[in-house]
Structure formats: C-alpha cells, structure tokens
Symmetry: C2
Subunit: 525 residues, 2 copies
C-alpha cells in the first residue's frame, strides 16, 4: 500500500497542501519520505461536518453491525502485514517484535469491543414499569440506557503508534460506543497513521458505514488539533501525551461555549515502594525487574517507574549499587523524537543539580535521537522540599529515594500528585504493617500493584488505566479495558414510549437478551 | 428544635459572626427571624480539613454501615415533624402539602441509596484471574471496583429546599458513594437547611461516623462557596441553580491546579411538541395538563415546559385561546426570592417586545414576591432568528410557537441547546411520521417523554435527570435515581493483591454476594 501523505476526509483524500512535514528515523535523525500534507481548515470543517451528519445514523446502527465494522478494521490492519510493522519500526526505532505485539494488542482491543457489542449488556439498560393506579400519583413507564456522546476527536500518542493511535484504544472505544471519530495523526509516525487510517477507511466502506464515521488529519502544528477541539460538532476528546499538551486541550474544551468531556492521559511517575521484606529477600530479582521496567520501550511508557523508594539498609545499598551497574552497562537507545531527546537531556541536566547522587553518561555525541539510560538518587527530605523531583522525565531514567521510616513514606504518599499506578513490593506482613500507606496510595492512583512492576497493562474487563489529575483529566474512567466504552456514552431516558419506538435494548421482550435492571432487579431475558 | 443561625462544622457549631442575613417570607416580603451568621474562612478551612481527614475512614466503611447512617438521617428528618414543614413553607411560600411530598421524596432517596448499599453491586466489581503460564507473558490477577472520589461540595437549590438541598439527592448520593460532604446553604431557606443539617449531624454522631463526614456552611455572599470549590481537599461539586452560577463554578473548577468534576444542573426550557394528532384529539386535556405543568410550584421547576410547539391549525387556535384563558384566570403566586421575582419581571418585559403576542398582567402592585402567570406567542421564523427566546424564564410562564411544517420542527430541533427533557404529544402514527424529529431530540436531552408533561421526576433506577450543556455540566450522568451514586466514585484496580488485602467486594469468595464480572462473565456468588 502506497503512503500518499494526504489526510483522509470521510471517504476522500485531502489535498497536497504546501505545508508539509516528514517523519524521522530516530536511529539516524534523518527525515523519511514521503512528505505529509497538513490538513486545511476547509478539510477540518468538512471532516467535522461529515462526522456530524453520520452521528445519528451511525449511532443508531445495531451493536452487531458496529461489531462487524470493528472486526473488519482489525482484519484490515493484520492484512497490512510487514508493511505496517516495518514502517512503524522505521519511524520510531522500536523493534519489529514490539510492533508485532502492539499490533496484536490493537486488533485484540478492536475485537474485545466487538465482542462487547455482540453481547450488548454494556448499555446498562434499565426498565421500570408503570403503576397506573399508584397513589398519590401514577408511576410512569421509564426506561433508559447509554447512547453515544457524538463525534470524538482523538489525538495519536507518540509512544503507542498502534495501540493508542489511529485505530487504538480511544478510537476503538468511541467507534464501539457509536461515535464518529476524527483522528489527528502524530507527527512522529504519520506513515504508520496513514496505513492504519486507510485500513480503517476501507473497513468503513466495505461494511457500509456512513461517510464521516472516520477521518484522519495530518498537521505539522497544533492549530488544526486545537480548532478541532473547539469545533461545535465535536462532543468529546481523547488524548495521550504530555502534561502541557493535555492541560492545554482540557482548558480549550472547558472554555468552549458548550464545554465537552476530555480524556487526557498525561503524566505519571508511578511511585514504586520496596518495603523492607522485599529488598531483603529478593534484591537481585528486583534489580532485574526494575531495570527492565525503566528501560523498556526506551523508558517511554506512561507506566514507567519514575520514583523508587527504598528503606535505609545494607540490602538497599547493595541494590542501588547493582542497579547503577545495570544502568551503566545498558546500551543507548533512540527516543521517539528529537523533542523528546532534548527534553530528556534538559530535564536530566537540571535534575543532576538537584539530587545527592547520579549516574549518567554524555549523550551529545550519540547518533540520531539516542540517549544513555541514567539514574538519580536523593533523600526523603530533599524530595519533599523539591516538588520538581515529582516531574516525569520521559526516557530511560528513574529516581531512587532512600527513606528513613514508615512515617516518611506516609508523608511522601500524602504529598504525591495523582498517578496511573503505584507499586508495592513486600511480604503479606509488610502489606498489613503498611496498611495506612496503601490506603493513602489508593486515593492517588488508578491501579495498585503488589509485587509487580507498573509497565505492562493487561487488556481485560477489570483493568483501570486512569487516575487522578495530572495522571489523567478524569479519574472516573479508564483508557484500557472494556469499561473505556462508557467514556463516550451518555444516559438517555424514554418515558411512556410505545414499545415500537424504543431501542431494542429497552423493548419489553428484550429481543437482544441483554442483562438489564428491571424494576430494580438484575436480570436477563 | 431551636434554629440558631450558626453553621455546622463537623460536630461543632460555627461562630456568631457579624456578617448576617435572614430568610424572607415571600408572601409578605418581610424578613424572618433569626439572623444567620456567615461562615468565616477559618470555619471553611476547618470543615475542609475535617472532611479530608474523614475521607479514608469514611470511604472504607462497609456499605451496610453507610446504609445505616443514611436511614438514620431519613428517620431524623421525619422526626422533625411539623417544625420542618412549617419552616420550609414560611421561607418559600410553597404549601405544606408540597413539603410533605418533598420530605417523602427526600427520605425515599436516602433509603433508596441505603438499599443500594445493602445490595452492594453498584460498585461494578470485576475480577480477572491470573494465568501464570500464559504465553508470551503471564496474565496477572486484576480486580477493580468503584471507590469514593473524596470530599464533595454541595450547593443547595432554591427550588427544592429538601429534595435538592442539605440532605437532598447530591448529598445522599455522595454520602452513599463514601464521600464526605460540605453543604453551602441557600440564602432563601437557611432555617430549613439548619433543621435538616442538625438532623444529619445527629445521625452522623449516633451512628459513629467520623467527624467531618458532614458540614453545613451559611454565607450571605458567593465568596465562601467559590473558596470551597477552589479548596484542594474538595474533589467534586454538586450544584443546582442558574446557568450563570453553574457556569461560574464550572469555570472555577476547570481552572484549579487540579481540575475536578462538577455536576451543575442549570437551565432547561424543556421543549414540548404537540404533534397534529394530539391537539386534534385531546386539545382540552392538553390545556389542563400544560397549565398545571407551567404553573406548578409557581413555575419554578427545572423541568417546566418553557417552549411549546403547536401545528398551524384550527384546533391549535382553540388550544391557544383556552390556554390563555386558563392563565388569565390563574391566581398570583409568590416566587422564592426577590431576585427571582425581579428576573421574572425583567425577562418578561424584554420578551414582550420580542414576540408576536403575549398575555401578562401588571405585577408591580402585588405583595411580597408575588407575580401573575403569563404566556407568550411567536412564530417559527422569529424563534429561529432570536436566540434569546431559548432562554429559560424561571416562573409561571411559557412560550407558544406555531410551526408550519415538519421541516420547521426539525430545523428548530437542530438549533436547540441541551435540555433536561423534551416531550412529544401525539399518536403512535405521529411518532413514526416524526421519527427524524425524535432522533434529533434524543441528541439534545436526557429524557424523552411521550404523551406526558416534563414536570414530575420519578425517583427510580432508570430515571435520567440530566442532559447536554447547558441543561447540565455533564450529560454522562444523572442527578436523580440510583445511578447518581456513580457521579461521586472513581475506578480503582488492584493487581496481584493477596485476598486478605482486598476490599470485600473483590475477595475471591465474594463474601458480600454482589453481582460481579468474573473473567468476563456476569455472575453472583
């Protein structure tokens, strides 16, 4: 499949505009063909207008029809074969193997939502029957369910070119909920975006979806994305990226004449606590585990452990020494963009002046966007006094903090901002002993992990990939797992409607056989 | 029970500050004893600090314990007897009978949430078991459920002194979810607020709740309420009131360093469509029904039909004439506050200059805050050209619009802002004929009503009292019905936790016997 560099606007392709940009090969730093053409305001407006006109017809399609669309997207992505894997690898310097896994996750997510639609109960259908002779006033017949929010703007993530980009989690859950989607490609992997976008457009056509259910816009700057978030046709936003970028979109959405929900996933340092029992018993395997978690994906996972707390002990000293040695022996790795490389260098340089000890190598002579892994060390007191040390550094680095006491850890936990995850390594006795710490951590995170590292997010019905601000904009929901579909839905109630005018999920005979709450009782059929 | 005029801060009473205000008797316009003392910044900070320290202990209480607390609140409110009814009636000029009904609804809501907690399945517990030998990587044990958001600020509604005030829907759902609540009393009915607040504080004490689970602050101005929404301890806001007031709180919450969810219910004109079949067949009963719906509660219900569309027909002319005659024969009624009376007068005066016909009587000589009901008439074209005509006028008035064609109605429906409700009166044949209209209305409202009026909100599991902005700040949720509990909850996930450290809802044996999604299957036990 040829990469044209043109946006996808409904079932048409955008123009070859003069404003262009290219992807880069992070290993060499060289630009990669072809040119990508930034979408015009007219193209944006046409994509929004098509999405708006597809809104009702797409939203009213039976769940099983949308499921077929999602499965066809997955099939089409797989049919891209090595072309997709090689382009993604070229644009990101991440290995083919990573993209084989990420493609499986992406297609798995699409099929998970398809299964959810086939089953149908996700709509939370509720039926309360009328009681015409109730005193003092009759009880009406009331029925309700989740319905789509309307067109959604999705921003591709730099660090997940497949699983959180064009046909990634946000797009899959929004399309599943019945919302048209307009995607803004990431400038770091536009070729990957176009390949997946073409697969998605083809799926929309071949399964008879209305034009406008999907568009993909390229842009070299921020203006098109911001204009999209301001557009009156857009009813929700999904974004994965930096704290500054995410907050900017939150502020734009909140300042609209009609504010809309925004789901931004932004910033997390994923505090990791080695309690005394753990480091004594399993110091060596923890070194290996932490090293893999900090350097995996070149340290560019949102769940990378960026803060690691250790007790003051002999065992900790050995742990730190071994961990530094692992880091010093690690190969360099290219980061995704020159901007990320520069931020890593700048933030590392600043941090080096703020901590008690650090290990880093010079990065200036490395090719492309490559950097060396690094590690920093500080004390509890310095950590509490320097809020900067809470800031995420995207890339293969972490901060170790030796803590004196349980009280210190509790004070630190209270001071933490919202996080995607917190991990606690210890014994079951430690968990009991540190119950107060766990209780505070629970108020700060979306996911608590015991004796495991935070990277690696299982896609399953119970997963919560979310957390209080600034980890995300909306701690009530999750970006991963089947519950993500509800982010793009809202409740609609039908009072005294005749059966023939009700959605199938609310009809008296329950023709779709979904789980419902009927007169207060959970039941099926 | 004596009304002291002092705030309730945890288990203590606020100071007799110098900044005071009084309630008014809307029938006479005279101030009513005693003085109410505005809370100080210190009292606000103490309430917030107590709420923050109660957050974890209250949130971790078993659902059944919180249920006992809610039921005790209901019992204590009922035990206030006629004292409460008489004070509420004195402060609002609404009849005793109304408050006997509203008290029943308020206590019913508290008990509905208590039942929901006893049953326990509202937490959406999910369990995915580990598969240690899964390839290429092991599957972890992942479990998740809804947990409380944290302390909630609740603003009392002018028009529901019981059901949407101190122990009303927002407070009941937040306390049920496990969140401490700080209520800002409404200046229109502070005595009612103190009586209910005392009942609530007594319930918290007698059932052993932690201090800080509830506070009630009086304030003559906006500063204390705004400072509360800005307070770092506050994690969500519930508000029912004007569009301007609600939007101001939304903007404050969105501009916080840590933005928080805000549930404001603000403004709705509840468009009501009389399709041809209805007005031909049931014109007379529709006059009676519309009149009752427009003038009930002195037109101060958020679901009052403020826009009524009729076909161009003989039958419609008769309808309009009869409706005007009903309005002209209606008694005057006192509005809740002098501010509401003034807004009603100002908005009516302005509207009279914008419409083709109107019926209103002079209000200037009426006692207290009393006004006459009124009715306005305009054309489709004028309505589409004058966005002002979409604005809610709080009080006993409505706007009638004669429409030429189905196309006009569809154009109007597209132009509407978000609404709590839309009502359609007609035959089943009309519903089919106007399916396009219904489909557009569905995107604009929280509740669609067939052959019924929008006032009167049934409290039941399926009710949706919400809708797109500006009806509310968050169309994804409902303020009425059992689903409201989820507004004050967020998802938390536990990965690889030992059974003993899990919340009961997630323990392997399911000791609370709640409905759960286990390895993707809905089941109990």
């Amino acid at each position: 499949m040829e990469i044209t560099g043109k946006s996808i606007v409904g079932f048409s392709r955008g123009a070859r505009t003069d404003e262009t940009f290219r992807a880069f090969n992070p290993t060499t730093g060289e630009a990669v063909e072809p040119d990508f053409h930034s979408a015009t305001d007219d193209e944006l407006n046409r994509a929004a207008s098509l999405a708006d006109s597809a809104r009702i017809s797409y939203g009213k399609l039976p769940g099983k029809t949308r499921a077929t669309f999602l499965r066809t997207i997955a099939d089409n992505i797989e049919a891209l074969g090595d072309t997709l894997i090689q382009r993604a690898s070229l644009e990101t310097a991440l290995p083919d193997k990573r993209f084989i896994g990420e493609r499986a996750r992406t297609c798995g997510q699409l099929r998970m939502f398809a299964d959810l639609l086939d089953e149908g109960s996700w709509v939370d259908a509720r039926v309360d029957h009328a009681i015409p002779d109730r005193q003092p006033i009759p009880k009406p017949d009331v029925r309700s369910m989740l319905r789509p929010l309307g067109p959604v703007a999705v921003f591709c993530a730099s660090n997940f070119p497949l699983a959180y980009s064009v046909a990634g989690g946000d797009t899959a859950s929004a399309l599943a909920a019945g919302c048209p989607v307009i995607v803004i490609a990431h400038t770091a992997h536009p070729g990957t975006a176009e390949l997946v976008g073409s697969a998605l457009m083809d799926a929309a056509k071949s399964t008879g979806m209305p034009e406008g259910v999907f568009s993909l816009l390229f842009s070299s700057g921020y203006e098109i994305g911001q204009a999209l978030v301001k557009h009156t046709s857009i009813k929700a936003v999904g974004f994965t990226g930096s704290r500054r970028g995410g907050r900017a979109l939150m502020d734009i959405a909140a300042a609209r004449p009609e504010p809309i929900p925004v789901y931004t996933e932004m910033s997390s340092v994923n505090p990791t606590f080695f309690l005394p029992g753990a480091i004594e018993q399993r110091g060596e395997s923890l070194v290996t585990g932490l090293h893999a978690s900090v350097t995996g994906g070149a340290g560019q996972f949102c769940t990378k452990p960026g803060l690691v707390f250790l007790p003051e002990s002999e065992a900790s000293l050995a742990f730190i020494s071994n961990f530094k040695s692992e880091i010093s022996n690690s190969p360099t790795s290219p980061l995704l963009t020159d901007g990320i490389r520069k931020s890593y260098d700048d933030a590392s340089g600043k941090r080096a002046t703020e901590v008690t000890d650090h290990f880093e190598k010079e990065n200036s002579d490395l090719p492309g966007f490559s950097v060396n892994p690094s590690v920093f060390e500080t004390t509890t007191i310095d950590f509490l006094n320097m809020p900067d040390l809470n800031e995420e550094i995207f890339g293969p680095t972490t901060l170790l903090i030796k803590s004196q006491s349980k009280e210190d850890l509790i004070e630190i936990a209270r001071s933490l901002e919202g996080q995607l995850t917190a991990s606690v390594h210890g014994t079951e006795a430690d968990l009991r002993e540190y119950a107060d710490l766990i209780a505070i951590l629970e108020t700060k995170v979306g996911r608590l992990i015991f004796n495991g590292f935070s990277t690696g997010v299982e896609v399953c019905p119970s997963m919560v990939h979310g957390g209080p601000y600034p980890a995300t904009s909306d701690s009530r929901s999750t970006a991963v797992g089947s519950r993500a579909i509800t982010r793009f839905a809202r409740l609609v109630c039908f009072q005294n409607f005749p059966d023939s005018a009700l959605p199938d999920e609310l009809k008296e005979s329950n023709p779709l056989n979904v789980w419902r709450v009927v007169d207060g009782e959970f039941k099926k059929g």
